[in-house]
Symmetry: C2
Subunit: 214 residues, 2 copies
DNA sequence: CTGCCATGCATTGGATCCAATTTCCACCCC
DNA sequence: GGGGTGGAAATTGGATCCAATGCATGGCAG
């Protein structure tokens, strides 16, 4: 099953991550199948995968849709990130290559050059996930990635309404993190990372309108 | 798709959790389909789900098998538990009913009455997962459950070779946890829980033979 | 005019069928 | 006797087909 199923799953992940399929929107099997020139079967298998990943909700005979998350749910998911990502970083750090660190520099330089929201989201995501990339524990990296995937929609909404003002904080925190990475100081890096995530969470909590809650 | 698929997935989870399908063992689609009186299609969809949950490994054209985990992988997964379960407990605790606490008493009494390994594994699992049951954050409970599911095989192997001697420690820690739960002291409960998980992890690390590593 | 019910259409769930790949074995050659 | 090659059986991957369920539209009655 795998080859077509993986293609479809990757396509759907990108579509949801890119905001082309919004929460609440229904995902029709036939539509996706035609878009990718496949039959419905790999689509159905991909939907099962994404359902297990939490990116899709599946009700019997009613089809698949992207789930809405409440502010509280996202809040807890950020708390999960605050717990897990320092661990992933600690596991990954010893195996990061100079090339990895150089790539981080490039990404951060690009972010600071001033990019649009969409590109910022992509670069920020790549920045963080790359710091975990050498971790080698599948269960850990996939769990972290899932948390990023499922909350991306709300991060985008938040970025759009908060404007570029808070980029300064992000940049400062990223630079602090990179400095700790360069020194190989795992404790320091973990602390800055946790703070970075926690601050973001607290800011998100001040914007209930992102979740349609006021 | 869901009804048959869910049935198959649940069957496979139980089979793997119960040790009836061991790591490295291949899972043939046709076999499962016949066992459950279904066609291969729901089986394939269920396998995709379990693959996304990490309970199954799927290689294109080579079929599905239960993955082996290294000692290091399990070690990190226990670290994940140590980070996540206190969070799950904190989210769940305010909503635990007196009935829930009573059920915990029952379980713990049964454990202390002296049960066989298989029953201990089931009761211990129910004990902990029940303390998180009121949490209400799907992504959190499912992540924690996944960690339990994927490491069950090694917990069983460990219990079988370590004998019932260390039950005393488990019982003491469970009682401490229950006391904190009864008092509604989330900080205390989280601390005891983290210690409980960490101690188990450290003990596991002293038994590389569980993982076929010496 | 409004609300309910029924019928028809759209969509999903499940089974069967066919093609492609792998795996296992036997046989042959070195 | 051991290792490699060929082929057949087993197994998986993908498509098509049919049944069942849900949804929407329209008609009918109050």
């Amino acid at each position: 099953m795998t080859v077509a199923t993986q293609r479809v799953a990757e396509h759907l992940r990108r579509a949801i991550l890119g905001g082309h399929i919004a929460p609440g929107e229904r995902v029709r099997q036939e539509d996706i199948a035609q878009q990718l020139g496949a039959s419905r079967l790999p689509v159905r298998e991909a939907l099962q995968m994404l359902a297990a990943e939490g990116m899709i909700e599946h009700e019997p005979n009613k089809g698949a849709r992207v789930p809405w998350l409440s502010m509280h749910e996202v809040d807890v998911m950020y708390k999960m990130r605050e717990q897990l990502e320092p661990l992933a970083l600690a596991e990954s750090m010893p195996f990061l290559t100079p090339g990895d660190l150089l790539r981080l520099e490039e990404i951060q330089d690009e972010i600071e050059a001033g990019v649009e929201v969409e590109q910022f989201l992509a670069l920020d995501r790549e920045f963080h996930l790359r710091t975990y990339s050498a971790c080698g524990i599948d269960h850990l990296t996939s769990t972290v990635t899932r948390l990023w995937n499922s909350t991306q929609y709300y991060r985008r909404a938040f970025m759009h309404l908060s404007g570029p003002s808070r980029r300064w904080v992000v940049n400062a925190e990223h630079r602090l993190l990179m400095d700790a990475l360069g020194r190989g100081d795992e404790v320091d890096a973990g602390r800055f990372l946790a703070g970075h995530i926690r601050r973001t969470r607290i800011e998100l909590n001040r914007h209930p309108e992102v979740f349609g809650e006021d």
